[in-house]
Symmetry: C2
Subunit: 192 residues, 2 copies
DNA sequence: TAACTCACTTGACCTATGATAAGAAATGAA
DNA sequence: TTCATTTCTTATCATAGGTCAAGTGAGTTA
């Protein structure tokens, strides 16, 4: 399946679009590829794009005052990634966006997306639904971080996204879970 | 300012609507009031409505296996509250929605809102923006919960929402911050 | 006035997880 | 096949915050 069609496939799961709208959407996105470890965004820059990953894996992270990296999101193919805050406000980002593997993405700029909402109102519905779900998801992750132990969060992640364990170094997964690599290592030891 | 106009005022901050659209929106929402401690949703029910608070304060919370309450959201007037997961999926909720003070709300059902999106597409834009912002916000709260100490989270809350300290019991604020009332008490002692 | 309740505080102790530092295993480069 | 780098594990110790249990103080009810 060509890259564009994957995007359309996922949009079509939530809103039904005509082939005319499909064409408009496809032409609004640009295809871009990046090698493993390449950065698509650095702190201080404005996040110009929102990215739909068609191949590979990416992460977003920030570096705190003490120089520690904290991972915010890990996304595989068919997921969206961006620094939404910077993307929507057009203010400087505090985040890095990095390719964890060689990746291919479809990207669209903020202004182009605004224009596309006018051309294809159903796309705005798609994004409304997307953010809705992302919000619900993030509240659940918040809940788990507040009230579940690291072990429970680890088990949930294994259950729901076991694929990332095959593809992403454990340091990153630990950070995503909100724990140190050492703690993750202890948890994994107990399990086996 | 009458209740309805408050809602319109906040919608108008993000999308400009005509007086015709305004009328359609206003007539789609129902006014409802509830006394302090009254429940608008209980676990096992489907969350039928999304609520815009025009007066008072509400909280959403759930009760874990050990019988402990965990507060998810605290919202004052001009905020939205619901169990979005249940609202959108129309499946049973795990949450309580409770009035912390005597409240007045404007509520709309899921199906009525879907219909209203068709009548007033700009409203869908408003909700797209609302969820976008809510999502960004929730990611920040997640970040703080993972990487900041309870003291820092407390200070941030004092800075950003000092009004809730005048209106909401500390037990609830502690839970919202993801700590025990005892810990919050210790933090506040150190501060003074 | 006393008795009760609600909201909060205090103290003693405990535990999950962090910090630091060192080592082992895997990967990759020469 | 050796050396270097990256990734993961292990051990020891430190600490933020949890748990439990008792206490204070303001407001309400009787």
């Amino acid at each position: 399946m060509p890259h564009n069609h994957k995007l359309i496939y996922y949009i079509n799961k939530w809103v039904s679009i005509t082939s005319d709208e499909e064409a408009k959407i496809i032409s609004a996105f640009e295809l871009k590829s990046a090698a493993k470890k390449e950065l698509m965004l650095e702190p201080g820059e404005v996040c110009e794009y929102i990215y739909f990953i068609t191949k590979g894996a990416m992460r977003s992270y920030f570096v705190d005052d003490k120089g520690n990296e904290h991972i915010f999101q890990i996304r595989l193919e068919n997921g969206w990634i961006s620094d939404l805050e910077s993307f929507f406000t057009q203010r400087k980002s505090n985040y890095y966006l990095e390719a964890l593997e060689d990746v291919e993405v479809l990207r669209i700029s903020s202004s182009r997306l605004e224009a596309l909402y006018e051309e294809v109102p159903k796309l705005e519905r798609y994004f409304r639904i997307l953010f809705q779900k992302a919000y619900i998801n993030s509240l659940e992750r918040l809940n788990a971080t507040m009230w579940d132990s690291a072990i429970e969060r680890y088990n949930d992640l294994v259950k729901e996204q076991s694929d990332i364990f095959q593809r992403v170094p454990l340091v990153y997964i630990a950070s995503y879970l909100g724990i140190t690599p050492e703690s993750l290592s202890r948890i994994r030891k107990k399990k086996s």
